[in-house]
């Protein structure tokens, strides 16, 4: 089916200024988390470790990109009255695919992320982009928009996770970097920097993620006055 449609929309694969904007806009000025306030829930739960955040980021990029693509391909065939359910089924289908794949590829991470993989379904980024973009645009553009938003989400996720893991556990990607106390991991042999620093457990707890996102918003809005909330 995809082949037929791509022929019909030949020439749609150009990559000009407009397409580039679709990819780069969500990274900063229109970031899904800090500006559109979408998909915050999972941003908090999975950012205790950088490795978890990266896996989650990849999963979300995959789901947003393909859900946008499929919805856009089907946009003229979806009956209006059951639009929401159809979109949700597409998303839930992709999420199940991700879950099954992750369970086969990396079982421990799958176990760690537990219900949060399932919660990608209700990650408002995906649903929000389907409604706002894919239902009204051509497949190629929708696909790019999906990737852009997924990456924008993943960047914030990894940023929060880096702060939380580095200062909360003293490690990055499970390698001990700073701090004195416990070698949390069996594979660390080298001595860490800043041995006087004792990792701050508060950062591993979920409220810390809230504070870090708030600080990111603070910095971003100080630099770009357009985004400031007037109300």
């Amino acid at each position: 089916m995809a082949e037929v449609l791509t022929k019909k929309e030949a020439g749609a694969f150009s990559f000009g200024k407009e397409e580039k904007k679709l990819l780069t806009d969500p990274l900063n000025d229109n970031n899904p988390i800090t500006v559109q306030v979408l998909g915050v829930c999972s941003a908090l739960a999975v950012t205790t470790l950088v490795s978890k955040a990266i896996v989650m980021g990849i999963a979300v990029i995959f789901v947003t990109a393909l859900a946008n693509l499929f919805t856009s391909l089907l946009r003229n065939y979806i009956p209006k009255s059951i639009r929401m359910i159809v979109q949700l089924v597409i998303i839930a289908f992709l999420v199940t695919v991700v879950e099954l794949a992750l369970k086969a590829v990396n079982y421990p991470i799958w176990k760690d992320l537990s219900v949060f993989i399932g919660l990608i379904i209700t990650n408002c980024i995906v649903m929000g982009r389907l409604e706002a973009f894919a239902m009204a645009n051509k497949p190629w553009k929708s696909f790019l928009d999906g990737i852009g938003n997924g990456v924008g989400y993943a960047i914030i996720l990894v940023m929060v996770a880096v702060v939380r893991e580095l200062f909360g556990k003293g490690s990055l990607l499970d390698f001990k970097i700073i701090g004195s106390t416990p070698e949390y991991l069996l594979n660390t042999t080298s001595t860490a920097w800043l041995s006087w620093y004792s990792p701050n457990n508060l950062l591993v707890l979920s409220p810390a993620a809230m504070f870090i996102v708030a600080i990111i918003i603070w910095i971003q809005r100080s630099r770009n006055a357009k985004l400031v909330d007037i109300s």
Partner: protein, 247 residues
Amino acid sequence: MHSTSYIIRFTLIMTLIVAAVLSIMVSGLKDTHTLNESVYNKKGILSAVANQLGKDVNSLTSEEVQTIFEKQIIQKALNNKGEELTPEQIKSITGASSVVDIDLGKENKKPADQRVFPLFVYKSADNKTYNILYTRGKGLWDEIWGYITLDSDLNTIAGQAFDHKGETPGLGAEIKDNKAWYTQFTGKKLYNQAGEYKSVAVVKGGVKDKDHQVDAISGATITGDGVDDMLNKGLAYYEPYLKKNKK
């Protein structure tokens, strides 16, 4: 506006496609999933003898895990009198086809005289025998469990591994992540010098009894109490077996 019959047709076709693709994926990946799960559980057990293995358990491949289990580990199941059960008995009492598959959470809900306890005997490269005991209890949010390795004197703890279903990261979850905490157990003893069962207690405010106490994690009182309770009750079930085999 689409007609009702179109909507029904659309829904049916979509459901069929989605269900078909997913069922193909599920049946195709089934073997990998079961293999991954069993390797994950086995790695959990091997973490309790990480010192004796001399290797980081997480770096083992699934083949290596399987060979260690085949060659160096004897799997047993005991009843509450300390007697070993045959595979047929295990199957008929617990419904599990192998010792690794025994669901201890389910066993703990049965009356004490019908429970089955898994035991893993590890033979190290230098021909020493270690008994790995398995215990399960409740933490703050959900289940916690632990594997405790006993030295050949069946008294001194030679290794340990804890895990949990959903403790708070940074607090309760430290029982699994904080190496400085869990290695406290190594060297502790289950019995006092008079030969009475004492277990190992998790205490706040400093260890007084060097042989039978470890420091609690600050901020994770309930999880610590859970570990304390789980060790005290869970390891006691192995007492008849330990007594019988002690020289």
